[in-house]
């Protein structure tokens, strides 16, 4: 008995305090997840005026509401995805509820294709990274199926579909054997983004040089320069002609123009003439007066 007497007054006091607090604390309900830009509502209980504060990545705002009514949020009112806090305040009492705003439907792709120039025949030489965004530029974290297609006129297209993880899908693809522009496209439903990757000739396979007498000089000319896949090495590529005679040497750096490089150097009997492109050496010619 003695124990019961000491217990009941404490329980009664706790119940009284709780009831008082419940009577004073504002009550409202919020969905735990809402889509960015969508409309939603928060029913409240009780009566009288209250103030609702909402704070999140998009900022913070305050709204005067009446308890017992439903608080409505119009479409487009909250567009930034992220974690929010809603606080309903009545006098010195407040009720806090967290909720998440998640991205809306995918509406845009940001597509990074690298490199913009790639030598031909490179395994995994081209990379594509696609980021999925909604119309409000929120990254869409829910998995989406992104299709990548790399197509060039001279090769059959390569295509693959990749699921996004944390809003990102990425892929590596091979460059074709033929030089030329390749269309690299990432798509998700009707959303398409296209990039152009220039597939360029690789290292020259050989440099063939010929020499012809031209008065007191030798006219030097390369054959059209190709890589080992038969692609023409682009104009502007530097060919270094070297003429060595005794202890002397003459050099000239000449750009390829229309596929060939040509120059004139002094004609010296017995001179050794060579041509090189970068680290690729060509043939050598011993000049014997045009013979």
């Amino acid at each position: 008995m003695k124990r019961g007497i000491t217990f009941w007054p404490g329980l009664l006091a706790w119940l009284a305090i709780t009831q008082f607090a419940l009577a004073q604390s504002p009550e409202f309900r919020l969905p735990e997840r809402v889509k960015a830009g969508s409309s939603f509502s928060a029913p409240t209980a009780g009566s009288g005026p209250a103030i609702l504060y909402i704070a999140g990545p998009g900022g913070a705002f305050r709204r005067h509401v009446r308890l017992g009514e439903t608080i409505s949020f119009a479409a487009g009112e909250i567009t930034r995805a992220g974690h929010y806090l809603a606080v309903l305040v009545v006098g010195s009492f407040a009720e806090t509820k967290p909720f998440d705003v998640v991205a809306a439907q995918p509406a845009a792709l940001s597509f990074l294709a690298k490199p913009s120039r790639v030598p031909v025949n490179q395994n995994d030489g081209i990379s594509g990274v696609a980021y999925v965004f909604d119309v409000f530029h929120n990254i869409v974290l829910e998995p989406q199926q992104v299709s990548f297609v790399l197509s060039a006129t001279s090769a059959s297209p390569q295509s693959r579909t990749v699921s996004t993880g944390n809003g990102v899908a990425w892929i590596r693809m091979n460059s074709a054997a033929k030089a030329g522009p390749a269309q690299f496209e990432a798509s998700l439903g009707n959303i398409r983004e296209r990039r152009v990757v220039q597939q360029v000739a690789g290292e020259p396979c050989t440099v063939r040089l010929s020499a012809h007498e031209s008065g007191p000089k030798i006219r030097l000319e390369t054959e059209p320069v190709h890589d080992c896949s038969g692609n023409a090495v682009p104009d502007g590529t530097i060919v270094t002609f070297t003429e060595t005679y005794g202890d002397n040497q003459a050099t000239v750096d000449v750009p390829l123009k229309r596929g060939i490089a040509q120059t004139e150097m002094p004609a010296r009997r017995g001179a050794l003439i060579s041509a090189a492109i970068g680290v690729v050496m060509g043939n050598e010619i011993r000049w014997n007066g045009g013979q």
Binding site: A113, S116, T251, I277
Partner: protein, 376 residues
Amino acid sequence: MKSGRGLALLVATATIALVVAGTLWPNLAATSAWDARARIAGFSSSSQSAVNNVLQAIGRHDWQGAYASLANKEEFSEPEFERDLTGSYGSLRSYANLDGFDIKPLRASADDAQIRARLRWSSVVGTFQDSRDLRVIRSGDRWKVVWPIVKEPRVPPQVIPVNYLRWDVIYRGPQDDWGAQDVESPHVRIVAMHPVDHGGEVAVLGELLNEDIVPAFVTVKATLLASNGAAIGDEDSFDKICHVLLPKQVTPFRIDFPKVRLAQVGSVRIQPSSALVPASADPVIEIQSQRLSPLPDPSLRGELVNQSGQVVNVAHVIGTFYDHRGQIIWVADQYPDRALLPQTPVPFSIPLPADVSTKVGTFRAVVSTYSASRFQ
């Protein structure tokens, strides 16, 4: 009072004496900074004073005064004399000043003398020397200099067809989305690198290849690291490199680290960087008659020949020197002081350190050019 008057009298006397002395024997060394080391003579009463007077007038840009005192004025006009000294076509010489000179008598007689004058010119890329052997002849009681004019060759009027090849670049605009593709920097690669200890300093030598199909503006930065990984210092190649590299072009580079000994260095970190820039494939410059001159004046000499029709205002020649195993042992450069006119050879001489010159097996020279008209 008496002592005060005495002091005033002493000061006045000293002042008058100094004014008189200054008037009669002016401080010639103060006439200008550049000729401080040259001996001055007011009158050309000797062959050396005649040369001194002419060179001082050149230093003051007093072309008229210098020309007037020459013995062979009938051979060339005053503008030709001035052009000989200041160059033309906006060459390096056009923007240089005479920093000083030395003269050395080679032979002398009663009426005739030969004097070697070494003129030191200062320019934005450093100093360069101009050596002239001057004949000096006696005319009555005066000596006069016979100026060895170097007339720039005139290129005959002609049309030189050029299949012009250049690259222009359109970069990504500020309004583009961050995911939009931009033009990519050219791919460059270090194909050789070798740190050497020279003269108590470390120099990092190497070669850089533009392996892309577009022109590149390149720089190379090096960081010396101690054996514990701590950075000793970092420097870049500055002008010991061809900064604009066309596709598949190779440039040497040299990065100097003053006050660092090779023994302190554990490793070297090299950072090449490149940017895509608009560039032209012309003009084409032939480097002919390249040869190594031995001691006592070791150098790589040769001639630059502009194969294009465009005047090159300033050229920069960089030499790479290899030992007999093909290892880079030195990189050096020189700016010829004359403009490169079409089809007109211009000599160059890249000085080599004496200790390096004895080890050189092969060499390679490259040239980069600046043409004012390219930017018009």
